[in-house]
Subunit: 430 residues, 2 copies
């Protein structure tokens, strides 16, 4: 393809004994990997290595032999254990020299906080000769970029609250500048369609793809389809992405809840409620507040989210939602009827426009042949019109509950859209 270069190859190296000990989860690698994918870089390896000079040098050497760009994180601090800069400079054949600006910045950092500066902190002002020094407004260790013979070695601090701002402000623009072409991607997010069905529905597009490409990302209860194009400039890349996004929207119809990277499923539901001036009330049993908690992920949701009930026990279902003892006795707490009454009870007690009732068996105990672990009923009432659905989820207690919450969000969305389409077309009967 004219004007489109091959992907550059990046390798991620996370440095730190605390990762090797399982002390912390390596979220930096996931963050950097996603960012690199978005920048059109190919990543074939991620490595984790401890604070040991020999092993660190070996890892850097191996990575240099198979990648164009190395992104290292961690090990830039002031202690003797922090060896990343020393090791990288050694492998790249660079001496460390005092960097006056970093020295001054360090002094200012300590003075501002009224802290005494210990001798080992000066180590952080020593930089490989000829490197680019990256500002770290959130910590004491600056970042470093060394470039030579078409290889780029980037050193970033380990704490995510230092690494992420540094990557965004300094590293991402540097990496984008290395490439002749521009990458643009857009994500089509769908709910209410299973992963394998979604994949089948786009398999022909994936098989035929060259530029743009389509990648499917399965999330709990959702599928994200990322369309990525490479072109000489952003305008041209966007032009390539547009018809594919349109095609995907056509295939998945109302299951597409957004094409905006920033919009989550709960945000889409909150926006839908807001647009229709509907208030929401939740009534949860097996999820025990997880649906409410997910709605509260959305900043400012108090405009639509009136409140929620957690009615895990039968007593709570009766007391808080007014569900009759006889109904619970006849159908059981996990039943279509109880879910329906929970939604109706929440609507009655709270005057919410949209109410949701959730009841199910999350396990590990409580399952029977007739009502196995994973059986969940979700009821959604939209201005008095109640829909109840039965679900069978697999996995452990946590997984069943997560899947339930996503299904509830999808059902709420579906019921609201359905209600208004029926109202619009005069088919509203109930």
């Amino acid at each position: 393809m004219i004007g489109v270069d091959e992907n550059m190859v990046v390798e991620l190296i996370s440095v730190g004994t605390e990762i090797l000990l399982g002390n912390i989860v390596n979220t930096n690698a996931a963050y950097l990997a996603e960012q690199c994918a978005g920048l059109g870089l190919s990543c074939y390896y991620q490595d984790v290595v401890g604070d040991n000079e020999e092993r660190l040098c070996e890892t850097i050497r191996t990575a240099l032999s198979r990648a164009d760009i190395l992104l290292l994180s961690g090990g830039l601090g002031p202690t003797q254990d922090d060896l990343t800069k020393e090791a990288a400079a050694k492998v790249m054949g660079k001496n460390l020299v005092i960097h006056e600006e970093s020295k001054a910045a360090l002094q200012a950092f300590f003075e501002k906080r009224g802290l005494e500066m210990t001798d080992n902190n000066w180590k952080q002002a020593m930089m490989p000769e000829g490197c680019i020094v990256l500002d770290n407004p959130n910590g004491t260790a600056p970042g470093v970029i060394m470039a030579e013979n078409g290889k780029h070695v980037v050193l970033m601090p380990g704490p995510p609250n230092e690494l992420i701002p540094m990557f965004e402000s300094s590293v991402a623009p540097y990496l984008a500048g290395l490439q002749d072409s521009v990458i643009y991607s857009q994500t089509v997010k769908i709910c209410g369609v299973g992963e394998s069905k979604a994949e089948t529905m786009v398999q022909d597009l994936i098989d035929a793809q060259t530029n743009p490409t389509i990648a499917t990302y399965a999330k709990t209860g959702e599928v994200h389809l990322r369309v990525t194009a490479r072109a000489e400039d952003e305008k041209a890349a966007k032009k390539l992405v547009k018809p594919v996004v349109k095609e995907l929207k056509g295939r998945f119809g109302s299951h597409v809840y957004t094409t905006d990277d920033e919009v989550t499923l709960e945000k889409a539901v909150a926006d839908l409620l807001l647009a229709n001036k509907l208030s929401l009330v939740t009534a949860e049993s097996c999820t025990g507040g997880m649906l409410a908690a997910r709605m509260v992920n959305v900043p400012g949701v108090s405009d639509v989210f009136k409140g929620g009930f957690v009615t895990y026990s039968n007593k709570a279902k009766r007391r808080l939602l007014g569900i009759k003892k006889s109904l619970l006795a006849k159908y059981g707490a996990v039943s279509k009827e109880t879910a329906r009454e929970m939604a109706k009870g929440a609507a009655f007690v709270s005057k919410g426009d949209v109410t949701v009732g959730i009841t199910g068996i999350a396990g590990p105990d409580g399952g029977t042949e007739e009502k196995p672990v994973g059986l969940v009923y979700i009821a959604c009432s939209v201005l008095g019109n109640v829909t109840v659905k039965e679900y069978h989820f697999s996995g452990g207690r946590a997984k069943v509950r997560e899947s339930t919450v996503s299904a509830a969000l999808a059902l709420m969305r579906e019921c609201i859209l359905q209600y208004y389409s029926e109202v619009t077309f005069g088919k509203q009967e109930k």
Copy 2:
């Protein structure tokens, strides 16, 4: 040390393009790393590689050259992309042969679920000759152990809900059996003490340690101190661990909520409620149901957890908990007074013995100079005795909310213990 061998070396290899793309966070590696540390294995490298045979083989070869044990996860599924078993068998010089038991188990798995079995699924019944096949009750791909010339290659499925049970039931005992000496560890879990304070409090023990060792793991709102000893048998190892655990219990006093690996903070709180025949009701604003959801993590919690209110909006605080408009106007929704009234309101409305009120500013918006993002008030009422505490949490919206939930659990525990110690010693005044 007599009878104690050098640590065996383990290397973790996570296989999957979804990790390289940053699609998922590599929690398996953190889990396995922590488990391996607990088993007394040394880990110097973790690798991530995609579903590519050549690169996978190269990674396995390199790992074999520097470790005794390889733990691979992912890439055992039925699709053509799943290559881990094929690559590992190739490097180990083993042919794949049909494994009749796995074939029968696969058939049963599909029949039970009424699913059609596609041809590619048979791939999962092909096993390297002479290997140990590990049962996978939670999925279709069995695990594999190949051992030769002192090298041990373990293959496990990628989904955590399959990997973790398999590791616990099959892999951990196998790895323990490889070592001449026995490793025994016990975790002292503490809450209500900050990470750096906890570390300072045990620094002298850590500095002086040889066998057993003490490792600190910071969790949100908790610190876990793991004491690990190596000895010729379990009895001897336990004997080494015991006095250190006792010392830690003495230093942290009532902040120690358990020394049982299986007991979570929410479980400890649920047990404390149950032991004192106390019912719990929650009233949450900024956490929006997360505390309730965490209590419902505990199977069978309905014996003590009566129910919960999610009152994110002021309206809900007034309607559901009966908080006066004038109080909200005077002190604001995020105030000591509102938290107190939430706990008292929940107790009044629901007749719960222990009630918790949570209100705070989780961000990103809503903060002011006077009431910044991260400011949280938690009130806990135990049979009418209300304690309110002010907290300042850092991090983003999600982090602030998580920290709040852990702090609420710690506060509940503290208040219940306090109440009964005062009752016991006749100091109950209120």
